[in-house]
Symmetry: C2
Subunit: 328 residues, 2 copies
């Protein structure tokens, strides 16, 4: 049996509503009785029963987060930054994995709603995910993907601009035949990056040299075969923009297996800046927004909409930076 507010009330011989108020600092006057109540609460080892509290206040101190896969560094790193900021504000984060499955995404939504979270941060499975999140009565934020859906706030980097910059960077480094390697299952980010790539190539009069390819999957060896295929083309690509780091790993393996040196014969730039991408064995040149900022903005958007449910939809574009390493 855990100790309740009533136990404290009995010991201190006051009504339990008084105890509640003292514990919540609603009795502002400093006096011996308050101290005495606080002291016995502590002595008895009282822990507020959040569940009961929530039932009446309707305030929730947990934020739901729906992601495709925690065990994937990209998501776990962002999850961490959401958690850090949320915890700092006194919120917990409840995470649900969708395993890239729309059905699981909708059950994740339901189970979070049922725990009445203060809001839900979603890193969507795909372009159709927004269908799952219409007419929710809790604050909702898409993280990492924009959406046309007018009622969903989102925070995202400027994929088009960043990819244009990356492409120009490779051109500047002397690449002339460039390829963008995306993923078969397309989504906004993937398409925007491709778009940025093509646009930059066009601007530099290199549109005929622009190759667009698709990897089977993001996981190793998803881009391996496709990369080998690309490298036997004439002219051979000398610069690759890859959808993300994860995919770049197998692209790099493909380059090596063709007998080329990554970063010399073929330059590679990708996206995400995973922690491991910094390892000397990988040393990937990669583009990423600040993950701290991404997480912070997402949480702030939730809290903002909680305060003003009817506020206009807000789309935040965070800046990204390129981390230059050995591959490009």
């Amino acid at each position: 049996m855990s100790v309740t507010i009533k136990d404290i009330a009995k010991v201190c011989d006051v009504s339990y509503s008084t105890v509640s108020r003292v514990l919540n600092g609603k009795n502002v006057r400093q006096n011996a009785k308050n101290d005495w109540i606080l002291a016995t609460a502590k002595a008895l080892g009282y822990k507020p029963h959040n569940i009961a509290r929530q039932l009446v206040t309707k305030e929730s101190d947990t934020i739901g987060m729906i992601i495709p896969d925690v065990s994937n560094s990209h998501y776990s790193e962002i999850t961490k930054s959401v958690q850090d900021y949320a915890n700092w504000l006194g919120y917990q984060v409840l995470i649900s994995n969708t395993d890239w499955d729309l059905v699981k995404e909708s059950t994740a939504r339901d189970s979070l709603l049922t725990k009445n979270v203060a809001g839900i941060i979603v890193m969507p499975v795909c372009d159709r995910s927004h269908l799952i999140f219409r007419s929710l009565d809790v604050p909702l934020v898409f993280l990492g993907t924009r959406t046309e859906e007018k009622h969903i706030d989102y925070v995202v980097m400027d994929n088009i601009q960043a990819t244009m910059d990356a492409t120009e960077y490779l051109i500047g480094r002397g690449c002339r035949t460039l390829a963008y390697i995306g993923r078969k299952i397309s989504n906004y980010s993937s398409r925007d990056r491709m778009e940025g790539f093509l646009r930059a190539m066009k601007e530099h009069g290199l549109s005929r040299e622009a190759i667009v390819a698709s990897a089977d999957s993001l996981e190793f060896p998803g881009g391996y075969a496709e990369t080998k295929r690309l490298l036997t083309q004439v002219p051979r690509p000398d610069g690759l923009i890859v959808f993300n780091d994860q995919l770049a790993f197998s692209v790099m393996a493909g380059i090596i297996s063709c007998g080329y040196a990554v970063g010399r014969d073929v330059l590679v730039v990708s996206f995400d800046d995973l922690q491991i991408s910094a390892l000397p064995q990988i040393s990937l040149t990669t583009i990423t927004p600040s993950k701290e900022e991404l997480g912070r903005v997402a949480v702030d958007l939730i809290l903002r909409r909680q305060k003003e449910p009817e506020a206009e939809r807000k789309a935040v574009i965070v800046s990204s930076k390129m981390v230059k390493r050995a591959t490009g």
Copy 2:
């Protein structure tokens, strides 16, 4: 305003306790009224209010998990397996990061208790973590670390045996001067691995060739300097057992920077089998228990103790396997 059980009762003209029972399948007889209630519940978009439910049943469908850092693959991979199994059983997992900080570990504990979780799975910060978890009234499991504390269940791999096997494996591959590279901050796992290493060396009459070293940190470049130092010794180590994959990454970088080839001049075996360790650029020979099993056992231990709070302390040792790749 979300729809409650009373709304349904009003529509169907029954008492709300009846609705509750029908919704929970306590009315076993199949009849039109039950169907009608179920149907209106659905039509009204009723979502059970778990918070209220929990208040009376005292059953919780969330399991707390305390880990040092989700953004670290080792933890996120295990977290995933805990979540997968827990979700499958109808539980949610609430994750708290400690950032390797004992104080944060204890606040994590408090905030989970306050949400009255069904139990807590802990991947402890250090050897003193058990102090934080005495006399809890919820089921508790240590994952990945054993403990002397008699009231804490735990699940762990047999670190001593696995490291002995690994050492013998390297000896079998011709290594004669071996080193174990651990971490400065020691814990059970680290010490057990060192112990297994020394024991195997002794059994093979190689105890004089056994070198024990400590890296500054697990993160890159934690083991870099120490590895370079080791490799200038005479005789030079030709086989390394490294505390974990993360550390092995910088150890490998150190080996390369000395001009040696990993997997030929110096063999490396480590622990965890992170997803990235399988990449061809890394291709680490590594030892790990099944993460699915680890997660499953941890959750089962929680549920077992929930059912029988007074059951004897249970310590589960799961088997591990070595994944042989290019480094050793």
